[in-house]
């Protein structure tokens, strides 16, 4: 009886503690003051706002918040007050899906911004498609989301309601491979990913491109999100004699990995994607991150004059999180939805369509036609819902800060 209790409790506790990772925390961040004669429309923002990935997730939330505040202040759509409602997906696909259901169930919601993680996006797309509600992610980079499972051979857009202001990993992985091979002159690389949609996809594209360029992938391995001890992996990396570690995943794990790797005597740089481009990576990994690299979507925010007042507002409001990676993209995604609402209202003699489903469907059409200068450059979407603004930057940690070392613009026509 006692022994069976031990086993029973261990099973029960594992299950119970796993469940704690789920659940949602709704933040009502919006400033909502509904005067009688204005219509209040809600924009949902979904991102990890606590725990893993929350640094960049909060950057998405507050980027959207500033866009909504700006639109309300400037009365961008006369007669409409926008309200932002934030949902925390904790980087969990299941939570993201239930958040998507909550957003589509909100009868004042016209669109959604987010999520951060490509794996979460996969579970949300269908929900938004069924509700004919627009969803714009500022950060998803997995090619499958817009171009279908067989994007390498035949591109086919799976959901008309899904857009993104970030470019895809097809480009990001190639850009990283080029910089690793030609810029850093690294010829043999050890590739690690976190088995998530984003991380595994990016690592795969990087490996393929790196091999195409003539480089060698000496070994691959995978980690679990939440892993802390990488002693065994570090020994493998050291033994492989690779001169670069490429990591597909988020900063939570890569910061630990780079520290343990350098402490373990494998002194090679770690190179990752936009998922680890955050100040938290440097804070958590400390001095071991010096010389590490990451590609990120877009060009450095300080080279975007339009982003200046955005950054000032972000800092002045004391918002948490890191706007550097996706803040401007989140602002642009939110603005695209707001501008689409404006176009619908204008086409309807200045009135908000009374049927919310009608409004949602028309907003999707208008978002597809977006064409304006955002903070991150031109905001427009191609036939797959991908941004036409394909810029990338390689950053390297120098004296404890991310510094841009190479920028690129793509023309894939």
């Amino acid at each position: 009886m006692r022994r069976s209790l031990v086993i029973l409790t261990s099973v029960l506790a594992t299950g119970a503690l796993t469940l704690t990772a789920c659940g949602s925390r709704d933040d009502n961040g919006g400033s909502d003051n509904s005067d009688g004669d204005t219509t209040t429309l809600t924009i949902g923002v979904d991102a990890p706002l606590s725990g893993e990935n929350s640094t960049t997730g909060l950057g998405i939330q507050y980027g959207a918040q500033i866009a909504v505040d700006d639109a309300n202040k400037n009365k961008l759509v006369p007669g409409v007050t926008f309200k932002l409602k934030a949902y925390d997906d904790k980087a969990q696909p299941a939570t993201g899906q239930s958040n998507a259901t909550a957003i589509t169930g909100d009868k004042t919601a016209v669109g959604a911004v987010g999520p951060l993680n490509s794996g979460v996006a996969q579970t949300m797309q269908q929900v938004f498609a069924s509700a004919k509600m627009v969803q714009i992610s500022p950060s998803n980079t997995n090619p499958e989301l817009t171009q279908g499972k067989d994007w390498q051979t035949s591109k086919k857009r799976p959901y008309d309601t899904y857009f993104r202001t970030a470019t895809t990993d097809e480009l990001q992985g190639s850009f990283a491979a080029d910089y690793a091979y030609n810029g850093l002159k690294k010829k043999s690389v050890f590739v690690v990913d976190d088995k998530q949609t984003y991380g595994a996809g990016l690592a795969k594209i990087f490996s393929e491109q790196f091999k195409k360029l003539g480089g060698k992938v000496v070994q691959t391995d995978h980690v679990n999100t939440g892993d802390k001890d990488f002693g065994s992996l570090v020994t493998k990396i050291k033994n492989s004699k690779a001169d670069l570690l490429y990591y597909g995943g988020q900063y939570d794990e890569s910061a630990l990995l780079t520290k343990q790797m350098k402490d373990g005597g494998a002194n090679i740089p770690l190179f990752g994607g936009d998922g680890m481009f955050a100040t938290t990576y440097i804070e958590a990994g400390g001095a071991a991150t010096e010389g590490d690299l990451a590609t990120a979507i877009g060009v450095p925010a300080d080279t975007l004059p339009a982003a200046k007042s955005f950054i000032e507002t972000y800092k002045a409001k004391g918002y948490k999180g890191d706007y550097g990676a996706y803040g401007a993209y989140s602002y642009d995604a939110t603005t695209a939805i707001i501008k689409a609402v404006k176009a619908v209202v204008d086409a309807n003699d200045g009135k908000v369509p009374s049927d919310i489903n009608d409004l949602r469907a028309k907003v999707v059409e208008e978002v597809q036609k977006s064409d304006f200068e955002g903070l991150s450059g031109k905001v427009a979407f191609d036939e797959y819902g991908d941004t036409t603004n394909k810029q990338l930057t390689v950053y390297q940690v120098e004296k404890g800060a991310w510094k841009a070392v190479k920028t690129g613009t793509a023309d894939l026509g």
């Binding site: 030609n182 060009v299 080279t303 810029q391 920028t407 613009t409 023309d411 894939l412």
Partner: protein, 224 residues
């Protein structure tokens, strides 16, 4: 012809060839317009410019004003060159020499707004490739304008050159009154295919010339 001096082939024998002064290979229509423009009296020219500017301003104000009531401060002067410069691949110019280790590719370079941008093509990612705009290695595109230019890429060393890289790069130094940036323009699609064709001709299967040495195809190293 890839010398570093400022070559200005006025009335050069190949002046009507496919590569010459930047912008000079523009459609003849513009030439005719330019001639007529030159023939006008200076006062007419001035007033035409003034009228054009006024019209542009008015149209611009009309278009922008309702859209964005709180117009942002004039950002254009502080535009970073990499954010306003666009490259579009137009197509292959002829291979000028044989054996084929060199190809010429035509691009349209646009500067969307802001001050003039001076560009210099410095390379094409790989050490074994040289890239340069011809005939001048450095050229300027005025703000708001598009120029057609030719970039000549030559293969100097086949070892470590991948033949089918998928994406190809042009490394360019961009300079305007605001900043100097080193930037890469990334091409998939047509340019990538055309450049891969050149690499195949130059490096595969028989290496031309004494310099390049034969290697196995890049895919033979792909074991992981």
């Amino acid at each position: 012809m890839t010398g570093t001096g400022p070559v200005e082939p006025v009335n050069a024998p190949d002046a009507d060839g496919s590569f010459e002064v930047i912008g000079a290979d523009a459609p003849r229509l513009t030439d005719r317009v330019a001639q007529r423009w030159g023939a006008l009296p200076p006062r007419a020219r001035k007033s035409a410019v003034a009228a054009g500017l006024a019209l542009l301003t008015a149209v611009g104000a009309l278009l922008l004003a309702p859209d964005d009531p709180e117009t942002r401060e004039p950002l254009d002067l502080s535009a970073w060159p990499a954010d306003v410069t666009r490259w579009d691949y137009l197509g292959l110019a002829e291979h000028p020499n044989s054996p084929t280790t060199r190809g010429s590719y035509r691009f349209a370079v646009s500067v969307l707004r802001g001050p003039d941008v001076t560009l210099r093509v410095t390379g094409a990612a790989f050490d074994g490739l040289r890239a340069q705009s011809t005939p001048r290695p450095e050229f300027t595109v005025p703000g708001g304008a598009t120029r057609r230019i030719t970039v000549e890429i030559s293969v100097s060393d086949c070892s470590e050159l991948p033949l089918d890289a998928g994406f190809h790069y042009l490394d360019v130094t961009l300079r305007n009154t605001h900043a100097i940036q080193r930037h890469s323009f990334i091409f998939g699609g047509a340019f990538s295919r055309d450049l891969s064709d050149l690499l195949h001709e130059a490096c595969d299967p028989i290496p031309p010339g004494p310099g390049p040495r034969p290697i196995g195809s890049a895919s033979s190293q792909n074991a992981d």
